[in-house]
Symmetry: C2
Amino acid sequence: MNNESNPPQKKKRGVTIIDVARASDVSYATVSRVLSGYEFVRESTRNRVMEAVERLGYVANLQARSLKGGRSRIVGLLAPNLDNGYVGTIARGIDGELAGNNYDLMLYTSHSHRGKEAFYVGAIMNGLADGLLLIAPLVPMTYLNELREQNFPYALIDQADPTENSSVVEATNWQGAYEATRYLNQLGHTRIAFITGLLAVRSAVDRMQGYKAALTDCNIPVREELIIEGNYQQQTGYEATKKLLQSVNPPPTAIFASNDLSAFGAMDAARESGLRIPEDISIIGFDDVPQASFVYPKLTTVRQPLEEMGRVAAKMLLAQIEDRSHPPQRITLPTELVIRDSCGPNRRREHEDLVEKDRRPPIENP
Amino acid sequence: MNNESNPPQKKKRGVTIIDVARASDVSYATVSRVLSGYEFVRESTRNRVMEAVERLGYVANLQARSLKGGRSRIVGLLAPNLDNGYVGTIARGIDGELAGNNYDLMLYTSHSHRGKEAFYVGAIMNGLADGLLLIAPLVPMTYLNELREQNFPYALIDQADPTENSSVVEATNWQGAYEATRYLNQLGHTRIAFITGLLAVRSAVDRMQGYKAALTDCNIPVREELIIEGNYQQQTGYEATKKLLQSVNPPPTAIFASNDLSAFGAMDAARESGLRIPEDISIIGFDDVPQASFVYPKLTTVRQPLEEMGRVAAKMLLAQIEDRSHPPQRITLPTELVIRDSCGPNRRREHEDLVEKDRRPPIENP
DNA sequence: CTGAAAGCGCTAACAA
DNA sequence: TTGTTAGCGCTTTCAG
């Protein structure tokens, strides 16, 4: 009864393991055992302790637990930002998996930390979190090296480690791009432009390769002027499309953007140029972020199972946390073509675009 | 040279304050002083310590620091989800402010914790975080009470505390809705429908009231059949609009949705009914989430300064963390009408809709 | 099966 | 100006 009357700064400490011990008349070590599920505790003792825990509303102090060398039951997530649904969707998967295992998520968005990232990675490895998930599009090798050196659990999401030595969850980027391109071709398109992602990123390269392979398999020559390097941003998609529409002649009838965001930019540019989608030009994206079905027309895109990727990554990470010698795995999840409204048949198929074997005398319309 | 050859489970502990002390030949208390910016340390000592810190790559152990009763320098954020840009944008503001003050963000998304929230709030108050930010649309009173009881720093974002006793950051909901409605009226609309938000939420009620007040000030009677209760979801916006279009006669020429998400739903429904936006029907939203300018046509909406709200909330929270007796504040940030492409003049102005003072003989065009 | 006790890394009196 | 020291709450041997 002595903490009632000091209005400011009252430093109310929570209920500790000691309070519980007193209340249940055992040593606090025993309480700790009960709490951590130690097997050899007499049933009655356990019950007595649990009852006290309930009654007192005891909540474990995570700092103390982790300080002692145990787990903090916190997983760090380093992501570039939360602006578009991309990270949010992955985070939901992660979050769901973690919650089921009694872990918490600590979020770091690198956009605001520039340069302090090293500090964070340090703090995280220092016990703040038990593991680290990275969505960072460009993971500085320095972190990876340090992480690996310390044998600290981590996993990369949608981003291959250049040294092929990390746990990675990704999607079938090559395959997805291949299918999207074939789809466009089935629709009659042969002048299919491609806006790349950041080519420093592995997935971006894979997507481009899938695109090229599909073209080749369709007997369409790969024309470099139809490939524009982008960086996964909407603005860049916009600019790339403007350029494509203005300076390539004849202009493409379809545009494959390496991600939805740049596809949105492409849509804007196309419309600004007076083109209707999909009547005059087809546009396809990649990712299937939530807003892909908000835009008009709804975007046809290659779906990456983002939530699933988050879930799987979390699962992998947890496995590594449990067993630090768990070898790194690479899991590749399937993509899926989601056909919506932004692609249509090529209406201005021109003969000079036809490939060799198609060159035959034009057939007169009756 | 003794930790090279035990491949698995090597439990490498980080560099501690003690290592630094040894390296710089001072007591570790002095190192602590230097690190916490204590004033009275001899310049040369400070330099020596800092140099060792650098050289050894020392990183503070946050758990230990917070355990000791100090700050954890972590702020918790409880949000419903990350699916749409709403929370993401607010989070960016928070994040920016925190980073500038050397705080970290710990994220809890309630969608996956259902029912464990109480546990989290407990853990957070128990020292895991120094303060809590809530974007939860429906904040259970139990938390608020507990938080307040313990005098634990917290702030609500875009959600008024029913008991008017918390720190709150919100926007001028009433005002924003009022202006949006007036704008629609200036465009010639008089049959303006309104899709509400979750009416259990204060901001939703404020917006509705702003709408009604504007109508009244424009001498337009409030017609209950034009007001449909929604819940801030896209799907509901869609359904409400369908209903509005089918069962109200004559149908509204403009729809004011209480948030952008439901406005997107409304756009879908309108289009499905064969209406062009904005030629046949005007649609206006509220929030200005990032995708508002992705959709087509770009959504005219009332901008809430989400990022700013996050920043201000974080600032308020930090102030409370510094001084626990800091009284709760309520800060209201201005909204702003963002005119884009989804609203246009009413083309089917009917005379029976004109208000009294407008009844005058139509003027002939020259 | 349970208790005693030694810290985990750090901060904050209190001494010197 | 700097050192010494007592814990913060908890896990984990080591002894009963």
